[in-house]
Every structure is written in C-alpha cells, then in structure tokens.
C-alpha cells in the first residue's frame, strides 16, 4: 500500500481547560473514504478543522503529503508554521461546512471561480469552464448567475461542494454537511457525496450523523469517544464485530 496522505501523530487539542482530543493517531491513505462518528462533543469536527488549519493543535504532529502541517524548519529548528507554510501544505485540502459559508456577495459561478483564479492563478476561461462543469454535475447548471440567498439549503450545500471540487483537492473534508438542512433536502446532498465518492479518487473524511450513509460509502470508520479513537476498522468490523459497549449504545441510538 502507498504512503498515507495524512498522518496524525499523538495529536492533542484543548480549549482552555477542556481537553477535547487526547492523543489522536490516524493514517488516511490516498483515495480512502473515512467516516468519523461519535457522540457530539467528542471532538470529531475538531479533527478535520485542525487538518484544514482552522484550529491549531495543542501538541502532536499532522503530516500532510510527507510535510509537517503546523511546524516548519527554520535554521535547523522546528518552529510554528507561518502563513506561507500553511498555504503551501493545505493547498491539496478542501472543506465543506455545516453552514455552507457561501460568499453572499457573489453569484454561485463567482463563488466557484474566485479561488482558482486568485489562489491558483489559473486563467479565467479555464476556471469558468471547469466551474460550469462542476455546477452542472451537482445539478445547478441552470443557476449560474443566482445569488446564494436565492437558493435552498440543499442547493447551497451542493454549490459549496462544487466550489471545493473546482480546486481539485486531493483530500476533501465534510463537516456535518447535512445537519443544517431540512430533512427533505438531505437526500440530494448525500447523492452528490455518493457520486463524488464513487467517481473521484480523492481521499474523503466525513464527519456525520447520517450513520447508514456513512457506513455505506466508507472504507474506514472511526468511532471517536471522549477525545480518543475508541474503535476503528471497516464498516462491518466496527458495526458487527465490535465489543465496545459505548459504540454499541451509540449505534443503537442512531439506527432504528
């Protein structure tokens, strides 16, 4: 098997006095689909937020593509990464948020085009073509010039995914992307994720409460509990063969 694209090595995170993560060790392989499940407050979201550089770990290392994300070498010492270093390393990572976070002052096409043009310095024509393609793929090819405020929650989330995909990430992070949606809009968003999982060869990390869906598409399932990975393995290993009582209790509550 090839080198992991992401490695967490004894990563701790605390907010003030509260220790959210107490030593996370984790490998994510290229193209691997990882589902992170666990009770709320167990630190699921914090894991992917640290990988996206939105949250700085208290200690430990996160290695992305062989490079330490939060530390860099300076005159032989490892020091805290500066913005330039972070930007270099996180370039392969994309993220979709619970609350979409679309840019309200831009049309949905502009939402998709801004970053490739300004960040990756690609030409406008190329980006435009690719953005339209992506928006078509998520079923919004007819809304290119609409503003986010004119869309439903499900549509907004699909735009957010297209926006992330246009950047051609090697790792995509999904942070409870259906939690803020009305129940009847969840399906359309999950369909898009399923489509990405099937056809794209990027690694995916899904933090989710959609248990059946996660177990269905995931190569690997992590059960996070009280700040540590309490259980990990394939879906069938984790669900059918785990003896972890808290996991069984958790699954029982979520699956009828």
């Amino acid at each position: 098997m090839s080198e992991p694209i992401v490695k967490f090595q004894d990563v701790h995170k605390s907010f003030g006095d509260i220790n959210v993560l107490k030593g996370i060790n984790l490998d994510i392989n290229p193209a691997e689909k990882v589902a992170v499940i666990g009770p709320s407050g167990s630190g699921k979201t914090t894991i992917i937020r640290m990988l996206m550089t939105l949250e700085e770990p208290t200690s430990g290392d996160i290695i992305v593509n062989g490079t330490n994300l939060w530390k860099m070498e300076k005159k032989g010492d490892m020091v805290r990464a500066n913005e330039k270093h972070l930007r270099q390393v996180r370039g392969d990572i994309g993220m979709v948020f619970q609350h979409f976070n679309l840019f309200p002052h831009m049309t949905i096409l502009e939402n998709c085009m801004t970053a490739p043009i300004h960040v990756k310095k690609e030409t406008k024509e190329e980006v435009r073509e690719r953005s339209i393609q992506m928006l078509d793929r998520v079923g919004l090819g007819d809304k290119l010039n609409n503003y986010p405020s004119q869309l439903s929650g499900g549509q907004k989330q699909r735009v957010a995914m297209a926006r992330a995909l246009v950047m051609r990430p090697k790792i995509m992070l999904f942070d409870e992307v259906t939690s803020a949606l009305d129940p009847e809009l969840v399906g359309e968003v999950l369909e898009v994720i399923r489509d990405i999982a099937k056809h794209d060869d990027m690694a995916m990390v899904l933090v989710t409460h959609e248990m059946d869906f996660a177990l269905d598409i995931a190569d690997k399932v992590l059960f996070l509990d009280e700040g540590v990975i309490a259980e990990q393995g394939t879906a069938s290993q984790v669900i059918e063969h785990s003896t972890n009582e808290r996991l069984q209790g958790f699954l029982h509550r979520f699956r009828k």
Partner: protein, 220 residues
C-alpha cells in the same frame, strides 16, 4: 414675501460653494480616516492599535465645536500656518471628528462579517490579504453604507460651524443679512434651513439606497 425670498435666496446662494466644498472635502477626509483608523484598530500590532484607539476616543469624547476652535487657535500658534487656511482647519476638524466616529462603523462592520466566511476563504487556501480583499471587505462595505450615509448628513450639519471661524458659507451670509435687518430674521433663517435641507435630500436618498443594498448580499 415672494419678493423677499427672491431678495434673500441669491445672497445665501453665494455661500453654497464654501458649504459644498467643505462638505465634500471633509467627507472624503473623514472616509479616509475612517478606513485607516478602522483597519489600524484591527491591527495585530498593539502600539498601532492603542494609538488609533486614543485618536478615536479623544475625538469622539469631545465636541466638534471644541475641536474646531482648538485647531483654529492652536494650529497657527503651533505650526505657523496663517489665517486664510481656515478652509483647511474646518476640513481637518470635521474630517478628524467624523472620521473617528466612522472608524467605529468600519471596525464594527468588518468584525460582524461572519466567522464562517473567513473559514471558507481559508479552506479555499486564500492568503489573509486575499481573504480581506475578496471576501470580508466587500461584505463589510455593504454593511457600512447606511451608516456612512447617516454620518454624511451629520457632516453636512457640521459644516455650518465653519461660519464661526469666518468662512463665508450659507450660514455666514444668513448672519450678515440678519444683522443688517433683524426683522427679516425669520425668513432668512428659514431659507438657510431650506438650503441645507435641499443639500441633504440627495444624501437622505443615498442613505435609503444604502440601506436597501446592505440588506441583501450579506451573510447572516
């Protein structure tokens, strides 16, 4: 009465150019100060932040009229600039005063752009400068529009103070006419007010326009 109006109005109109030029110049100066000070107060550098904070508190904590007179008497003494530059003193006083108020509007608007916007921009690998330029600032500016409109009306009202340091604005000519014929005072001052109101009308309209722009196109 009509005859009196025809008599008075052209006299007052002589002050229009000063009122308008002071309004425009001090508004531009105030906007400039607002953005400089507003951004400085968000700086990571403590000294810059504290220094700008001092400017804002001093100018918001004292009156425009006090600042105007202070500059009027102090500037020639301290810097040797002579009378005749009263226009500048008026513009500087009004600009610094309202710049301080508006800097709070700039700061508040930038801070009120939702945290999620910064995070989304980070996830798209934007630099902090790109985040500010492409995402935060354009949204913050939309939010600022109504307050900038309101304060521009305040600036227009504030320009009437330059008559007190000898600038020949609308109010100055009104005072001259009142002192030459006191019985005309009601009509003179009513017309002065009407002049200011006419100047305020486009600003009122722009403020309302700004309100409707700011209501849409901002993340909640």
């Amino acid at each position: 009465m009509i005859n009196a109006i025809i008599d008075i109005a052209p006299q007052l109109a002589r002050g229009l150019s000063i009122t308008i030029s002071v309004l425009l110049a001090s508004a531009i100066f105030a906007y400039l100060m607002a953005f400089i000070a507003g951004l400085c107060r968000l700086s990571q550098n403590t000294i810059i932040r504290k220094f700008t904070g001092l400017y804002v508190e001093v100018f918001r904590g004292t009156s425009l009229i006090v600042q105007l007179f202070w500059l009027y008497y102090a500037v020639p003494m301290l810097f040797g600039i002579q009378l005749g530059s009263n226009w500048w003193i008026g513009v500087i006083a009004i600009g610094l005063n309202y710049g301080a108020y508006l800097s709070e509007v700039v700061r508040g608007s930038i801070l009120s752009v939702a945290q999620g916007q910064t995070e989304a921009a980070t996830a798209l690998n934007m630099s902090s400068f790109q985040r500010m330029r492409l995402i935060i600032f354009p949204q913050a500016v939309r939010m600022m529009l109504p307050e900038f409109g309101n304060y521009t009306i305040q600036i227009l009202k504030g320009t009437s103070l330059v008559s007190l340091i000898g600038m020949t604005d609308i109010l100055y000519y009104g005072d001259i006419m009142r002192s030459s014929n006191l019985s005309q005072a009601p009509l003179v001052y009513l017309l002065v007010l009407v002049f200011y109101f006419i100047l305020a009308l486009p600003l009122i309209w722009l403020t309302r326009k700004g309100e409707s722009i700011s209501r849409k196109g901002v993340a909640s």
